[in-house]
């Protein structure tokens, strides 16, 4: 690695990132820095480019301009340190395979060409399934899993990657409260181990209870930093515009109350 490190003290460093789709900018001149060891939420209205942001960091979408560094290096040089959980709806769950098999896929990058997963990979996958509470479903055909169980399998596939930084695209979308709780617990455990967790999140109500860092996105980066300083009505209004009226009443109401912040 001859290239000098660029901002190695940051888990994720994004500078001047612009992504366009058919001539229209989806992300425009984004600068985002996320320090290691935080659990960060990426929030923003529909069409704000949240998923595109993650995809361009992961190299799934080619940016028009700008660069991305993970612990000081380009993504291609840091793949082993990155775990990824795509949106559940991007794959066909009728694919003929089992939960354990899907989790083992997390190790394919490490295995290298031509080698098949063996006993060691199976053990690692089993362990990851245990962590997400899915050990009883290892041989289950994936189409027979509920939405929440499928999400857990996806999470286990990322856990097995043993990464330092995790990107999750809407992991809490369409799962029940129990699963959401379980996912959040796992993510908190990762943070406690010093890992960085970056989550595209759609639910403003839970940002403050789940996360300690947040990035508000709406084509541009509206605000970023610790949740306590960034989660303000002005910032949210800037991102969400008129829609905020609905959100505001419910999320800021408990601030006004004397015992505010005690929710959850």
């Amino acid at each position: 690695m001859t290239e000098p490190l660029h901002e190695p003290q940051l888990a994720l460093h994004v500078e001047d990132l612009t992504v366009s789709y058919e001539g229209k900018p989806v992300l425009w001149d984004i600068d985002i820095d996320i320090p290691p060891g935080v659990m960060a939420a990426i929030v923003g209205p529909n069409g704000a480019g949240k998923s595109t942001f993650i995809k361009s960091v992961m190299g799934l979408v080619k940016p028009t301009a700008g660069h991305v560094r993970i612990f000081g290096r380009p993504y291609a040089a840091q793949r082993r340190r990155v775990g990824y959980v795509p949106q559940r709806s991007t794959v066909d769950w009728d694919f003929p395979t089992t939960a354990l098999d899907v989790v083992e896929m997390g190790l394919y990058g490490r295995l290298g060409w031509f080698r098949r997963p063996g006993k060691r990979e199976r053990q690692a996958a089993l362990h990851a399934l245990e962590q997400v509470g899915m050990q009883d479903f290892l041989d289950r055909q994936i189409s027979q899993l509920s939405g929440g169980q499928q999400q857990r399998v996806f999470l286990a596939r990322a856990l097995v990657q043993q990464a330092d930084i995790y990107f999750l695209d809407e992991p809490m979308a369409g799962v029940d409260a129990t699963t959401e709780r379980a996912i959040v617990d796992i993510l908190h455990r990762l943070r406690a181990q010093g890992k960085t967790v970056i989550v595209v999140h759609h639910d403003l109500q839970t940002v403050r209870s789940y996360f300690d860092w947040m990035v508000i996105l709406n084509v541009r980066a509206i605000a970023q930093g610790p949740v306590a300083t960034v989660y303000t009505p002005e910032n949210l209004r800037k991102a969400y515009g008129g829609q905020i009226a609905l959100i505001e009443r419910s999320t800021f109401a408990d601030d006004a109350a004397p015992a505010g912040g005690g929710r959850d």
């Binding site: 291609a76 795509p86 098999d101 896929m105 394919y108 990058g109």
Partner: protein, 376 residues
């Protein structure tokens, strides 16, 4: 029958059909799982101009040149589809349709041109349209076998890569796999499968050999390995039976017979396969409906008993029918067989009455306590 199998021509045809079944079955699985079933259709129609060009170059019906031509134009059409979808706003289905019809038109023009040219060796070139098993020579089998074997070897080597790219190309990219190259490899392999089947089934019906074995196999198994194995087996069965029938009965074309055979396997699989088959599903639905009706009646009886503060409350059949808006006698008889209710009379009324047995009362209470949706 035994004499039949000893026949040299029939042996050749059967082996060719088996090779076709294996290659198209295995490679078709990946095409179907990647939702590219129709790619096979475009590839096979686009093979026709290649067949003609191959013939023009070789100047004779040299199978090697002809198949090479088919492979080249097939692959070119796949490339055109890729470019059309990437560069324009055309969706894949439209791009496939355009590539199919344009290349097939070119193929037919070339074919008629060659046929009109008076070249004596062109005889039978149009057999590539619908296939002609009898025209297959022992030497052709080597080419078909070589193609099949190399495709199988590639699938074996790149098994986990193909699986991941078919299931979740985004995640595969994030792991650093060369997803585009792998997809091109899979598409090329489908083109190879098409080439293997051209002589046997012909360009028009070849797509059935790509799609049908995979669809049938998917019904019976939950693993990719099982699906690929079964697809190869189904493809072989259909190929051999179709080829043998056509070789023994005069005037029956091979390609359509093979396609009919694999269609029969698909039909059986769609209806009968355990778990996914239609018959299975309707059976399960009926069982569920019966069970639900039973639970409803049971819980009505339980509610009536609770209202009257009498565990052995005797409910009149007419009242139960009215309450459920549908005759309940059959359901009650089924419950009786399970020992949950019993027919009784309630003097002075002469109409039939039913009461919960002890077991029925316990069962009703269990249903009542169980959370919604739990039907164990």
């Amino acid at each position: 029958m035994l004499a039949l199998l000893g026949d040299y021509t029939i042996q050749t045809v059967a082996m060719g059909a088996a090779l076709l079944g294996i290659s198209s079955g295995v490679l078709g699985c990946f095409a179907v799982l990647r939702k590219q079933s129709l790619l096979g259709d475009t590839l096979s129609h686009a093979a026709l101009p290649g067949i003609c060009i191959g013939f023009l170059i070789a100047g004779s019906r040299d199978i090697g040149t002809i198949l090479a031509g088919a492979l080249v134009t097939g692959a070119a059409s796949a490339l055109v589809v890729l470019l059309l979808t990437r560069m324009s706003r055309l969706k894949t289905d439209a791009a496939l349709g355009i590539a199919l019809s344009v290349s097939f038109a070119i193929g037919v023009v070339l074919l008629t041109h060659i046929q009109g040219g008076g070249n004596a060796s062109q005889g039978g070139l149009d057999s590539f349209l619908f296939g002609q098993a009898a025209a297959i020579l022992r030497g052709d089998l080597w080419i078909m076998g070589g193609v099949t074997l190399s495709a199988l070897a590639l699938v074996g080597l790149l098994w986990k890569e193909f699986k991941l790219v078919s299931f979740d190309p985004g995640f595969a990219t994030s792991l650093g796999l060369p997803v585009v190259a792998l997809e091109v490899a899979m598409t090329t392999m489908v083109a190879l499968a098409v080439v293997v089947g051209l002589q046997m089934v012909g360009v028009v019906l070849m797509t059935a050999m790509i799609v049908a074995p995979a669809v049938a196999a998917r019904q019976w198994t939950h693993s990719l390995g099982g699906m690929v194995t079964l697809a190869a087996l189904f493809g072989t069965m259909a190929g051999v039976s179709g080829a043998v029938i056509s070789a023994t009965v005069r005037g029956l074309s091979t390609g359509p017979l093979i396609v009919l055979a694999i269609s029969a396997i698909v039909l059986i699989s769609l209806v009968l396969a355990p778990g996914r088959g239609l018959a299975w599903a309707s059976l399960r639905r009926r069982r569920d409906r019966r069970r639900l009706a039973g639970r409803q009646v049971l819980s009505t009886l339980y509610g009536l008993a609770a209202e009257h503060g009498d565990q052995g409350y005797r409910a009149e059949l007419g009242a139960l029918d009215t309450f459920h808006g549908t005759p309940t006698r059959q359901t009650l008889q089924q419950l009786e067989r399970r020992g949950l209710v019993a027919p009784v009379t309630h003097a002075p009324e002469t109409t039939p009455h039913w009461e919960l047995t002890k077991a029925g009362f316990a069962e009703a209470r269990r249903i009542d306590d169980a959370p919604e949706g739990d039907d164990r």
